[in-house]
Symmetry: C2
Subunit: 314 residues, 2 copies
């Protein structure tokens, strides 16, 4: 199968692409290295890499014309949510407009399958928790999540009008090796630079389901294999949550830092930043009903990732 992966040098894609190659797929990857890292790129005879900006519609069309993918895994995004609050057109461009370009290029070139990494952040601050896929109203509180909703609705509209098949996954926090951002990545790098002090955004009570990246990819592939509506929307999460305070403690311990020698400074706010959804629980029953379950709990996913990231950035 020929697969185009966007965000190919990013966290999730760098874990996905080796799996695709191992099963014999031919893979083209695109990235602009905004968050992605060159060293995360696959090296393989069946992998071709295209350094490009997906805001260039003509370039995207040409890539699809040349490569003729059977399916697109659209994983490119700004995943640094707080950044999108400072630069208000960041998610609009890197999320909404890029996704439009991909869909329009698919329409023009006859590519008709897309897998999309959305986010549980689309639910904003829901009144129902755990939050199911059919929750409404959809009132996101960050520009990141607003863009994810915009992408989802572009996908559903294109799917309806131009006969695409789409799999939309609303992720919990995905963790694992090759991070480019996120709380574990940030804590490890900052503690490596200065093991005497850690400033934590928010009061540490933020609590979310963390999904190990291999579980995430297993779940996405399981969903693709077992659903065939035009648009298939699934939460992809685990049933337990981990707090920022737990992640702080476990990271300090994993780095071998003496707790008495470090000044951990929590903020006052129950949120990490404006637009942060501090308490997340996603209803996982739709994926469970398909027959899929994650192997690791949130606690296990976080603890394993801390060990791996400490090792990776040693």
């Amino acid at each position: 199968m020929k697969i185009l992966v966007t965000g190919a040098a990013g966290f999730i894609a760098s874990n996905l692409i080796p799996r695709l190659l191992a099963r014999g797929d031919e893979v083209a990857g695109a990235d602009n290295f905004f968050l992605g890292k060159r060293q995360y790129l696959a090296q393989h005879p069946r992998f071709t890499f295209h350094e490009m900006d997906l805001l260039d519609l003509d370039g995207v069309v040409k890539l699809m014309e040349d490569f003729r993918p059977d399916r697109i895994w659209h994983l490119a995004a700004n995943s640094d949510i707080s950044f999108g609050t400072k630069y208000t057109d960041f998610d609009l461009k890197g999320g909404t407009l890029v996704t439009y370009n991909l869909l329009e290029a698919m329409r023009r070139t006859g590519v008709n399958e897309i897998v999309f990494s959305s986010s549980g952040a689309v639910y904003g601050e829901p009144t129902v928790m755990p939050t199911p896929e059919d929750y409404g109203p959809i009132l996101p509180i960050s520009l990141y999540a607003a863009s994810k909703v915009a992408c989802e609705t572009l996908i559903t509209a294109f799917a309806h009008n131009y006969d695409l098949h789409a799999w939309i996954y609303r992720f919990g926090n995905i963790v694992g090796p090759n991070p480019t951002h996120g709380v574990i990545h940030d804590f490890v790098l900052r503690l490596r630079d200065d093991p005497t002090r850690l400033v934590v955004l928010g009061d540490g009570s933020q609590s979310k389901p963390y999904v190990y990246v291999e579980d995430c990819l297993d779940g996405m592939e399981f969903g693709i294999a077992h659903t065939r509506a035009h648009v298939n929307v699934h939460n992809l999460a685990v049933d337990d949550q981990t707090s920022v305070r737990e992640i702080t403690d476990w990271t300090i311990e994993a780095m071998g830092i003496d707790r008495a020698s470090i000044d951990v400074q929590y903020g006052d706010s129950p949120r990490g930043w404006r637009g942060d959804v501090a308490q997340v629980q996603l209803d996982t029953r739709r994926m469970t009903a398909l027959g899929w379950q994650p192997k690791l709990t949130s606690r296990e996913a976080v603890q394993r990732t801390i060990r791996e990231v400490v090792e990776q950035f040693r």
Copy 2:
């Protein structure tokens, strides 16, 4: 009060602006005359008009800096839904990007109230009818509706992050004088040109709630006066529906055309076009609970509008 109205030469704005002026408001209007008509523009000492493209962010910022509105009525949009299927970036630009520009300009200049005309089309083809505001999942089937959702979520995210107040109204089909598009407008113009033949998109069974524009504006103003959450989302509709077949019959009759002398050609599809939501019922209880009700039923709104539009385009 100083009010900026976008889409100022369009159908709804041309009915709104005289009301604002009559109560003493100072009004600035912007339009690019894509759908709006110059002859619909208000002429009044307290009205200033700006012919401009809202895709020009600098221009939008300058307009807000110069005029310093207290509130924006953002009514500009592509309202020709089928057009957006042929030109897939049309709603993205004229809806999503324009709305982003307005919100960003509000943020930069400290304007903090926005009234937005969304659409019941955001619900796609819902499984619950009449459809309430908290319906999910939000899976629109047209690029028009996808853009309306994108606009709504940009508004909610900006409201959360930058302390805006927003009133979002999900309209039924709004009808009344000064139309620029829509089934009644199209039927009247086409029958005026050729009273022997009328081609109808779809099989005529499409059935939607039609709201008279004065009721629409009353409802919007009532909502503004009686709600004060950061983001207030209301369906704005009536409880009965009118079919395209009824509109066809009533328009032919109102134009004095002998039914025996005209060839009415219905299509085969239950939809007017791809992406058309053919059966719409919007739950109106949230507005009713606020204390507001429309004066005209859908049937009355359509019949009155047919008379007015036949007269206006005679």
